[in-house]
């Protein structure tokens, strides 16, 4: 891939990430950290391709663990984030307030 095209992609992605976070209320910091943790689970795709490239036995073994770890990142990240955000659903918010 062209070096400069990659540089543009990196630059724009970096600004996007910065923008997304800059307006987040404190209450969502933990879920968002968890959510971004899930998003880098896309490393799974790379791990699969790495297994594809692997030829020797040692490469295969490392590739196997790459996929295993990446799948853990993606699946675990999803479940944990989903469970946290589940609690922010508006319909679960109790209407009762103040006791008057």
């Amino acid at each position: 891939m062209e070096g400069f095209v990659a540089l543009y992609i990196f630059m724009l992605a970096a600004f996007t990430g910065y923008e997304i976070i800059s307006k987040v209320p404190v209450i969502l910091h933990t879920p968002l950290m968890s959510g971004s943790n899930f998003v880098h689970g896309i490393v799974l795709v790379g791990a699969m391709v790495a297994v594809g490239h692997a030829e020797s036995r040692i490469e295969m073994i490392i590739g196997f663990f790459a996929v295993l770890l990446a799948a853990g990142n993606a699946a675990g990240g999803y479940v944990v984030t989903e469970r946290m955000l589940e609690m922010f659903k508006s319909d679960k918010k109790p209407a009762k307030k103040g006791g008057h």
Binding site: G17, I20, L28, E59, A66, Y78, G99
Partner: protein
């Protein structure tokens, strides 16, 4: 087929950004993770048709690894208590870093036809991915209580710095060595990077773990982004770098809330004040649960300051019950949340949301700090450093300068605490010795339960 794969990756990248954007508003947050999840499934499925993956044996290897890793993480993520979420994020993050490092390892072992730029980025990704892997596992072990000790020894910074420098030199040899570097160099490089991740995390105290986890999250993102370039995969590049920059900003926000630069969190041995810390005068005065019940029941305004102790005791449900009791007696009750209360920013908010506490009685530091002066009873539940007045008054205190909740300004302070110890950071808390402070010892859940029944009897 190539067009479909590329189009799917593009769609996945869009869904990730859209999902993260949604996650930044409380009402739509849950939809955000679902959209990002859809992106992940699409990207994963089309990758089975990637030209590099040929032959049934490889598909089987991938399927077994994916099934195993995915199953273990999914079930553990489902089972874990809400209070243990921070360490799970650390664990899953470490796995991602490890995966990025493993990808780099496969590509570097193969040694074939990488351009100079690709080779450099593969090495950088390997270095930070490996650090994030071993560092996150240590963070996990610390929060999970597997590893309680904070290991510090003389010249530690020097040893760590030398390890890092040697690792970087080996990295440079590999990155600029064309195809000349030996397998030995590569192995030592990875081992040293692993060791450095452990060594840099081991001396950091548990109270600083949220900042560290957030930093490792950002590092994993970067590693994934760089390995994405190596594999010519734009979805990985975009998702990785977005997470990387978002993660660094989040880390900064957290460190700012503690009023400590990130370098300070990482490299200063927290808990070892430079000068003599001020002597604390006075004694800790104990109080009975029934007296607290009377005090709270006849107060006009009560503020509750939750901390990690509430999380450990799983006391959020009982606390909410207590608050409802008080509200029935027309007591105004508010929750005051310090940005770094608990083990992650927003940790307390998540727990209170789980218990069903409405958002509108939960306040941030800035919103509520003025109000302590007009509050009858402030109840500190398992929080410590975030209410320590030493942060305002004692320049020798390790937490000097950190913005705190001014609980000491209220008329009465009740501190719910398990025992008389100094708590997680090991810093003496001046609040506990104040004239207006009473200590209520016990497990937070037990205490809240007692208070509920005591108030009912009044």
């Amino acid at each position: 087929m190539d067009f479909i794969i590329q189009a799917s990756y593009f769609a996945a990248a869009v869904l990730f950004i859209y999902g993260l954007k949604k996650m930044s508003s409380p009402a739509d947050a849950r939809k955000g993770i679902v959209w990002a999840g859809v992106g992940m499934v699409i990207a994963t499925l089309v990758t089975f048709f990637h030209p590099a993956i040929h032959g049934l044996d490889k598909v089987i290897v991938i399927a077994i690894a994916m099934g195993l890793g995915g199953y273990l993480a999914w079930t553990s993520g489902k089972k874990v208590e809400m209070t243990d979420m921070p360490q799970m994020v650390a664990l899953y993050n470490g796995m991602g870093g490890g995966a990025a490092a493993a990808i780099a390892a496969v590509m570097l072992i193969r040694q074939d036809g990488m351009s100079q730029t690709v080779q450099i980025l593969a090495v950088i990704g390997a270095l930070i991915g490996t650090m994030a892997f071993s560092g996150s596992l240590i963070a996990y072990a610390k929060l999970q209580g597997i590893m309680r000790k904070t290991i510090r020894f003389p010249m530690q910074q020097l040893v760590n710095a030398s390890t890092f420098i040697i690792t970087v030199i080996l990295g440079l040899m590999i990155a600029f060595g064309g195809a000349e570097y030996s397998m030995g160099t590569l192995t030592i490089f990875f081992l040293l990077a692993l060791a450095f991740g452990v060594m840099m995390t081991v001396p950091i105290g548990g109270a600083d773990m949220p900042v560290v986890i957030s930093l490792f999250n950002a590092l994993t993102g970067l590693a994934v982004g760089f390995e994405g370039y190596v594999l010519e995969n734009p979805a990985m590049m975009i998702a990785g770098i977005v997470v990387g920059s978002a993660g660094f900003l989040l880390t900064q926000l957290m460190a700012k809330a503690m009023n400590r630069p990130i370098s300070n969190v990482l490299f200063s041995n927290f808990g070892e004040a430079s000068g003599e810390a001020q002597e604390v005068s006075g004694t800790m005065k104990e109080i009975e649960s029934s007296d607290v019940a009377v005090m709270m029941a006849f107060a006009e305004k009560v503020i509750i300051v939750p901390g990690y102790g509430m999380a450990v005791a799983q006391a959020q449900h009982k606390m909410w019950e207590l608050v409802k009791q008080l509200q029935e007696r027309d007591v105004t009750v508010k929750f005051a949340i310090h940005p770094v209360a608990g083990r992650m920013p927003g940790h307390m908010n998540v727990l209170l949301a789980e218990a069903g506490v409405p958002y509108d009685i939960i306040y941030d530091l800035d919103e509520i700090n003025e109000e302590f002066a007009t509050t009858d009873v402030t109840m500190v539940v398992g929080a410590n450093d975030v209410v320590n007045p030493a942060a305002r008054t004692d320049p020798n205190s390790p937490i000097y300068g950190m913005p705190i909740l001014n609980a000491d300004a209220s008329k009465n302070v009740i501190v719910v605490k398990r025992g008389k110890g100094k708590g997680f950071s090991g810093i003496e808390n001046h609040l506990f010795f104040g004239d207006n402070t009473r200590m209520l010892y016990g497990d937070a859940q037990q205490v809240a339960g007692d208070l509920v029944s005591d108030i009912k009897e009044i």
